[in-house]
């Protein structure tokens, strides 16, 4: 597993060069944005069940056959598995966001996920749609552009608007999930 720092180290080692000024500017930005990054991660961790439940409710509303007998979210046991997987994906996205690097998500969550879903008969098109909804919800909560109340309490109050860049990064991690399932 890598983070933003060790990723730079691995890249430098491949060249056999020491890490000098030009490579350090990105890392300095990462350090300077630490508070925003922690806030953005808090936006996920404080709303996990809400985001996952919204996403699953979303795919069911868009495709009501899912909860009918014979549908993929019938009976409740399968619906519960769906919610559980949503939370697991959010957990790995939160790790990747904190580390500033997608390797933990790739190695420990996405590697073999599609094959597992195919083997279990989970329809990947619905799974992808759920991840899309989670992405939209997460970004909205993170940047405080969701309608209604502010959904998370960060260590910097009122920092939602400042989380734009980090929210874009989080969105890219959800895109990786979608890519892995497509």
């Amino acid at each position: 597993m890598l983070d933003a720092f060790s990723r730079t180290v691995v890249a430098a080692d491949a060249k056999g060069a020491a890490i000098g000024s030009e490579d350090l500017s990105d890392l300095r930005k990462y350090v300077a944005d630490a508070n925003k990054r922690i806030d953005a991660t808090l936006a996920i961790t404080q709303n996990v069940s809400c985001i996952a439940a919204d996403a699953v409710a979303g795919i069911v509303c868009e495709n009501t056959g899912l909860t009918q007998p014979g549908g993929h979210c019938y009976p409740t046991r399968r619906m519960a598995a769906c919610l559980r997987d949503g939370e697991i994906i959010l957990r790995y996205v939160s790790y990747a966001l904190l580390a500033g690097d997608p390797s933990v998500l790739q190695d420990r969550c996405l590697n073999g996920l599609k094959e597992t879903y195919l083997a279990l008969g989970v329809p990947t098109s619905n799974a992808i749609r759920a991840v899309e909804i989670m992405k939209i919800a997460t970004v909205a909560i993170m940047t405080e552009t969701n309608t209604g109340r502010k959904m998370f309490k960060g260590i910097n109050s009122g920092s939602g608007a400042q989380c734009q860049d980090i929210a874009a990064e989080a969105a890219s991690y959800f895109d990786l999930v979608i890519e892995a399932l497509s």
Partner: protein
């Protein structure tokens, strides 16, 4: 690769939980020290050749080691300083442990190189070179901490 953040994430993942407030605090703590670390890494990168040459010249000057090994010593000291540069960037001893220390004794022994020369060179860098001239006090502390770690591993 072990660093402050990956340690926290691994522990959280092993327990299957989301990063907690104490995890954030420990990550934050490492970021607070990061400024000095990154400065030390930057300055070390720019002085890597200088430090290596000063140290190896000093060690091989007094004639207690075979001159034939000098080039290899230069290469290795340079290599270790580069790994220290990486450690300063990651904020942990991961790069030194994984790429420098594990298996190191065996390699040095099989090449019939004197470990003592390496230790002397690093002690020279730690004690004799005026590191203060190139980096701040805090950065120097971070750098010397890693030098100590390496000297202990070699000894």
């Amino acid at each position: 690769m072990k660093s402050a953040v990956t340690t926290v994430v691994s522990a959280a993942d092993a327990a299957g939980r989301f990063p907690s407030m104490s995890d954030f605090e420990s990550v934050k703590g490492s970021f607070d020290r990061a400024k000095a670390r990154l400065e030390a890494a930057e300055k070390l990168a720019s002085c890597l050749d200088k430090f290596t040459n000063l140290a190896v010249d000093a060690v091989y000057q007094n004639g207690s080691y075979e001159q034939a090994n000098k080039d290899k010593c230069v290469r290795d000291i340079h290599h270790y300083l580069r790994l220290i540069n990486y450690c300063l960037v990651t904020g942990g001893t991961g790069p030194l442990d994984e790429w420098g220390i594990s298996g190191m004794r065996e390699i040095i022994r099989i090449q019939l190189l004197p470990t003592a020369a390496y230790i002397e060179a690093f002690i020279f860098i730690r004690d004799e070179i005026k590191i203060n001239d190139v980096m701040s006090q805090q950065a120097e502390t971070e750098f010397k901490g890693l030098l100590d770690y390496l000297i202990n591993a070699l000894a």
